[in-house]
């Protein structure tokens, strides 16, 4: 199977590559529209700033090819900022448009507790989830963020509570995303990546 990590100059590619490699899954990096077009599944990793991510994707002419790949049914996994990029806009960069796979927006978490939301937290599951198959209910995942999508309509399948209730896992058709970092979340994170690969491989 041909899994591509979207490379846009920032992000956290090596740790995702290593996590996949531990599962016996080889991946490659895609930084051009052509490279995006010829793959079976895509992963959009992300750390940093919403505006910087969208501008980097724009400079590499990757916004439209990403949206087209999703329309064609190519499985896409967004991680952390990669989840946030799937929304229409973000409080972090009000002038920059997101990929708009979902019409809602990304909000700054209200400062009712310590921010950034940094460390290991648990999930509250609200709908059946393919990514969470085989993952214990009380499992902890590693988060590091100050912005989050509070609502993703039917696509929100698991939530986390810190400062507000926000989307921790979203799934809709061939679109998957986690606000936490599966590649940094030990064995349960590996299970999430393995579940995505299985979906992408058509064995889900």
């Amino acid at each position: 199977m041909n899994i591509a990590l979207v490379e846009y100059g920032a992000g956290n590619l090596p740790s995702v590559e290593r996590a996949l490699s531990r599962l016996g899954v080889e991946s490659r990096r895609a930084s051009t529209p052509e490279a995006l077009a010829g793959c079976d599944a895509l992963i959009l990793p992300g750390v940093g700033h919403f505006g910087a991510l969208m501008r980097s994707l724009g400079e590499r002419s990757l916004v439209k090819p990403l949206r087209e790949a999703v329309s064609r049914g190519t499985p896409l996994l967004g991680i952390c900022l990669g989840l946030q990029a799937m929304f229409a806009t973000s409080d972090e960069a009000p002038g920059d448009a997101g990929l708009a796979l979902f019409p809602q927006k990304v909000s700054a978490l209200p400062p009712t507790d310590r921010l950034p939301h940094m460390g290991w937290n648990q999930l509250r599951r609200t709908r059946p989830s393919k990514l969470l198959e085989g993952v214990p209910q009380d499992a902890y995942f590693y988060f590091a963020h100050s912005y989050a999508a509070l609502d993703a309509g039917e696509a929100g399948v698991a939530f986390c509570d810190h400062c507000a209730s926000f989307v921790a896992v979203l799934e809709q058709g061939n679109i998957f995303a986690t606000q936490f970092h599966p590649e940094k979340s030990g064995p349960v994170g590996a299970q999430i990546l393995s579940n995505f690969v299985r979906q992408a491989d058509g064995k889900g």
Binding site: S15, V47, G48, H117, G119, W120, H162, E183, K184, G186
Partner: protein
Amino acid sequence: MSLAHRIIPCLDTDGERVVKGVNFVNLRDAGDPAALAARYNIEGADELVVLDIAASRDHRPTFLETIRRVAAELAIPLTAGGGVANVDEGRAILRAGADKLTVNTAAIRNPPLLSALAAEFGSQAVVLAIDAKRAGDRWEAFVRGGSVPTGIDAVAWARQGVDCGAGEILITSMDKDGTRSGFDCPLTAAISRAVSVPVIASGGADTPETFLEVFREGRADAALAASIFHDSIQGLGALKRYLGENGISVRQTG
């Protein structure tokens, strides 16, 4: 459901090997960083910190290679630092495989460095490390591995550092470091009350009770320790079980 308190083993290195000392002096060899990292990754560490305490320019390529070797062993977050003085050095550390970087001396001398790092990598990647020593009824920040006093109040500096963009504070008590006499709870609590970002307590770790104290009285979000883990005086699993039994939210593993 709540955010777990983190237990963070720390690898102080000379760039290449893990070293340890008491009160920042009398360093001796304590092993291979990648081997220790692999062990802590399995045993349930919530995060790992690797520091270059020599932080000499000559050794920087060696330290970057150490970060790469350590990161290759981990499925948990990695924080690295030591002598980071500008955005390019920070980028090199993150590119080598760290998720967050620590800054200390250069940030005190040039606080806008924190804003520059946060703008480039996001606040979640910028950890302000402060080495503090009691001075009367307050704490003074020291730089250059604890060797140079600054006259700056550690609590005020933590607050300013967060205003500049630091996303986390790593507070090390120089009075407690290496003594195994418990964390400095008053210092940690003073920092914790002063800032809105997570606080990692460091220096003085010993028994599970000392961790319980720093989470309760010190209001720490995370606790860091080195030699008690390197020397297997304290196991991570047993420590977390003890904390869980005493009502502290922790991520139980294995």
